[in-house]
């Protein structure tokens, strides 16, 4: 067991981890931040995406000890300071971009990273960026609409 410290959603945290403890396990079981989900065991589904030092990362695929000292942001840290939904979260609600909600944290984190890099993506760029996030419920239509809306562009199609 080793002691790790990092910043999660702006707060310093620390805990004991094994060498094999994944970041997602540390977040969910160590810190009780269960908004980050696990949907697969092959690094394919993206339900576990968080930001590490501003970059989207599949938290099922990095060891907790490897991000020691980093700044991690999870879905729990995405709302506005007053607790209201952030722009992208609000766009997901407005456009019905979620059904069961299981893929949603990963979708939001992944899309947020896209918009940070590329504030005005095309529809094709959004779809391409989300290749690593699987949703079984929405057929992606409303997710893509939500991301395009949040980017401040008019939505390309109904």
């Amino acid at each position: 067991m080793t002691q790790v410290s990092m910043t999660v959603n702006g707060k310093p945290v620390s805990g004991e981890v094994e060498g094999r403890t994944l970041l997602v396990q540390f977040l969910r079981e160590g810190l009780g931040l269960t908004g980050t989900h696990v949907g697969c065991d092959t690094s394919q589904c993206g339900a576990c995406v968080v930001h590490v030092d501003g970059k989207p990362v599949k938290s099922c695929t990095v060891f907790a000890q490897d991000v020691a000292g980093s700044s991690v942001k999870t879905i729990e840290g995405m709302a506005n300071a007053d607790g209201s939904l952030g722009t992208l979260q609000q766009a997901f609600q407005d456009h019905h971009g979620l059904q069961c909600g299981f893929c949603t944290p990963g979708m939001v984190m992944s899309s947020a990273a896209l918009l940070a890099d590329n504030p005005n993506p095309t529809e094709a760029e959004v779809r391409h960026h989300l290749e690593g996030n699987i949703c079984r419920c929405t057929g992606y239509h409303n997710i893509v609409k939500a991301v395009l809306t949040a980017s401040g562009q008019p939505v390309a199609a109904e």
């Binding site: 094999r20 949907g39 019905h96 069961c100 419920c137 057929g139 239509h141 109904e158």
Partner: protein, 791 residues
């Protein structure tokens, strides 16, 4: 102006806020004091005789608390099949026991034969590996192919079932001779042999269960990823573990999708309960995705020959279907009804065809159990019909739009009894086809095809006109057909003293948005704000009863139960108002949240009535009970029959065989629509899954019964880049005639209607390029298309 409140409004979903902020509570999110971890030991061979299960070394490993094997459950009940289907000769189906843990034999890769409980997940995992290493299983030849399974009596999935056949079902057997005669004399017969590919449902939340036992009271609690907690309670309590039903609570909290796979009771649920009792500690289990692939109930998997008899103008004379349906190694709860009554009864489609006959042989194989997956039987029926119709059109040089049109039932024909035993109450198939053609700009297709050609692509357009039977189901009818349960639903409306209400519903939401839509309906009926209504679901200790959500039944059955309970609340409210306003009960009217004495300005608000019900000073107690809470059960009089027309356009790259869906248009008739935003979302999701089936998803077992597509690296799930924006319309509305909401159900539509539209479009594209290809099986992968083009 679109409505902004109540029925018909696109109210935003209240559940979204918790999901968007990471505060949903799914089963695996719960942490319990003293919890322990279960890991299952699963067969690595498809078929084998268990010589010994090696528990000795594992039992001494660190943290191991208990080990269970098939031996521990051999005297408890099996997980039963929900429907008894009889063969054509009247003999009942074969129904092998499905044990909690495999005993004697393992029958598919992933069949669990032992479970370890340990202090930590890693300890349980390590011990499970040890058991696997120390276990001796004699491998037997795997039975994978259905035809071979039926032909070879020497190799059996279940030793007591000689030809691996569950049943040989005919529908309707008495009509067979007339159907055969119609084929004999028909001017034209088109035959098509096809495969409806096996799919893995892949709800994004893997299955998970937590068992708890409370020694002080002898109560059990199961928290589980279920679409219908009451059915799970019944099966675990009464059939498998023999727990009194009133000693078991089943909770299905936030559930991350189901699509059928979470309807059923699975052995893991019984195991965590039995283990929790033994250890008097909570026992939790969450499937890894690899386990989901191996052990969740799969869907579809039909091998079908369909024949269509018609005259030279394309008027349908008869349909005849022969299907082999794979049920896998054991009968999952709805496995026997899916290929029969959910498939055969739909084989008339929306058409006026006089003669229809369906034969289904259901086969055991050494593969994961197969059961209902979004649409369940109805996609298989629609796919066969819509594909063979297009093939006939090509053979006779007829226009596929016109052929559907001339064979459609017309609005003056309802109620209409089909030759396969359903009574369609209402519909307007011409309207949805007209709408779809307008949306798709069919007239402009030639120009789009030319544009595609200029970019080196073959463009094709494909049509599918679909119908389904949902709102499952009238108990008296399904009882005659072999169902072992009723399929009503229930709701309790509790008006609290302060005037807000809690509605406990038997339907379960795992993405459908019930918390929002049911509240819209209740709010409108009672004339109170939506925010005053709270919907409670998924907990057998809170809700009266329920049969859960599947078969597009939530609104059409449970929504109607809630409406009936609300009617009772209003009736009781009138009694209270009559007392308070010193008027006759018959003079009280209820409108916009107010009880009034007709023709006067004397009135009481809903809130005043509620308060008085709980502060009943001066009540005439002999005639008026305090309190305001009502329950209603509703059993539908008939199925509901949504229908629609789907038009797909694809571009095919002749060089690579890659197919791109470039446009998808849906014109559906769902009857009345409660929340348009949610209805559209349901169609999007269904079409996304249908495109997945048509182009991407293949569940492949090799000849040894090893699943070759057991992860997201091998099983091609549709991703954002594989699908277009969908063009969805639901304006053609013929209200269901036998439920008060006039609703039909929209959850399965997309998955039913879309696969044939996609494949028909691909074939249309190929023909336009001079490739005279009659058929390609799904998934229509680049490899298959390329092969078809290049021989």
């Amino acid at each position: 102006m679109p409505k902004d409140y109540g029925i018909g409004a696109s109210s935003k979903r209240r559940e979204d806020v918790r999901f968007l902020t990471g505060r949903g509570v799914y089963t695996d999110d719960m942490a319990l004091h003293g919890q322990t971890y279960a890991v299952f030991v699963r067969s690595t061979v498809a078929h084998g005789r268990i010589r010994s299960v090696g528990t000795e070394a594992a039992s001494k490993m660190p943290g191991v608390l208990a080990i269970f094997t098939g031996e521990d459950f051999k005297d408890v009940g099996g997980n039963p099949a929900g429907w008894l289907i009889n063969s054509r000769d009247g003999t009942p189906m074969h129904e092998p026991k499905r044990p909690v843990l495999a005993h004697g034999k393992v029958r598919h890769v992933g069949d669990a034969y032992a479970a370890v409980i340990a202090e930590t997940y890693q300890q349980a995992k390590d011990a499970a590996q040890q058991i696997s290493d120390d276990t001796d299983i004699e491998e037997l030849p795997a039975i994978v192919d259905m035809r071979a399974a039926l032909a070879d009596s020497s190799n059996r999935v279940h030793d007591e079932i000689p030809d691996n056949q569950c049943y040989d079902w005919g529908w309707i057997e008495d009509n067979r001779a007339a159907v055969d005669a119609a084929f004999k004399s028909a001017p034209h017969v088109t035959t098509l042999e096809l495969v409806n590919n096996r799919l893995v449902p892949n709800a994004m939340e893997p299955r998970a269960s937590i068992g708890e036992y409370f020694p002080g009271t002898g109560d059990y609690k199961l928290t589980t990823t279920s679409q219908n907690p009451h059915l799970t309670r019944l099966l675990v309590a009464a059939f498998v573990l023999g727990i009194p039903e009133n000693k078991l609570t089943v909770v299905a909290p936030d559930v991350g999708g189901g699509f059928g796979s979470k309807i059923y009771h699975y052995g893991e649920e019984a195991l965590v309960l039995a283990a929790a009792k033994k250890l008097a500690r909570p026992v939790r289990w969450t499937a890894e995705r690899s386990e989901s692939f191996l052990s969740d109930a799969h869907g579809r998997d039909h091998v079908t020959k369909i024949e269509l008899a018609c005259d030279k103008e394309g008027n349908f004379l008869a349909f005849r279907t022969e299907t082999m349906a794979n049920v896998g190694a054991y009968l999952s709860n709805f496995a026997t009804v899916t290929p029969t009554f959910l498939h055969g009864t739909l084989m008339a489609g929306p058409y006026k065809v006089p003669h229809v006959y369906v034969n289904v042989k259901t086969v055991f194989t050494n593969t994961a159990p197969v059961d209902a997956y979004r649409g369940a039987g109805r996609p298989e029926a629609t796919y066969s019909l819509e594909r063979v119709i297009d093939k006939m059109c090509r053979e006779l040089g007829l226009d596929p739009f016109e052929v559907r049109r001339k064979n459609f039932l017309t609005t003056d024909m309802f109620p209409y009894t089909t030759p396969v035993g359903l009574v369609y109450d209402t519909g307007n198939y011409h309207a949805t086809l007209d709408k779809a053609m307008e949306m798709a700009d069919v007239a402009g297709f030639a120009k789009r095809r030319a544009d595609s050609a200029a970019r080196g692509k073959l463009r094709g357009m494909g049509l599918s006109t679909w119908i389904e039977a949902c709102g499952i189901a009238p108990s008296n009818l399904v009882g005659i057909l072999g169902a072992r349960v009723g399929l009503y639903d229930a709701a309790t409306v509790r008006v609290n003293a302060t005037g807000n209400i809690s509605v406990m519903v038997g339907a379960h939401s795992h993405g459908q948005g019930h918390e929002t839509v049911f509240a819209q309906i209740a709010a409108e009926k009672l004339g109170i704000p939506e925010s005053s209504v709270e919907i409670v679901h998924g907990d057998t200790s809170k809700i009266p009863f329920g049969m859960g959500s599947y078969g597009s039944r939530s609104l059409a059955v449970c929504g109607v139960a809630m409406t009936k309970a609300i009617d009772k609340i209003v009736a009781k409210g009138k009694k209270i108002a009559a007392h308070m306003l010193e008027a006759a009960e018959g003079d009280i009217t209820f409108e916009d949240g107010k009880f009034s004495v007709a023709g006067t300005d004397k009135a009481k608000t809903f809130g005043e009535i509620a308060f008085s019900a709980y502060v009943p000073h001066n009540y005439p107690l002999e005639t008026l009970e305090p309190g305001l809470e009502e329950t209603a059960f509703y059993d539908p009089a008939n199925f509901t029959y949504p229908a629609g027309a789907y038009i797909c356009e694809v571009e095919v790259d002749e060089g690579t065989g890659k197919v791109d869906v470039v446009a998808f248009h849906c014109a559906d008739d769902f009857g009345n629509v409660m929340n348009p935003m949610i209805v559209e979302g349901q169609v999007h999701g269904g079409v996304g899954q249908g495109i997945g089936q048509a182009l991407l998803e293949s569940t492949t077992y090799d000849e040894n019964g090893q699943l070759l597509t057991g992860s997201y690296m091998d099983y091609a799930m549709p991703r954002a880049g594989d699908v277009p924006f969908y063009n969805v319309d639901y304006s053609c509305q013929t209200a269901c005639t036998h439920n008060v909401l006039g609703v039909k159900g929209c959850g399965e539509a997309g998955a039913i209607g879309s696969p044939p539209a996609v494949v028909n479009a691909v074939l249309d594209a190929l023909h336009s390029g001079g490739h005279k290809i009659a058929h390609i099986d799904m998934p229509v992968s680049p490899g298959r298309v390329w092969q078809a083009i290049n021989g």
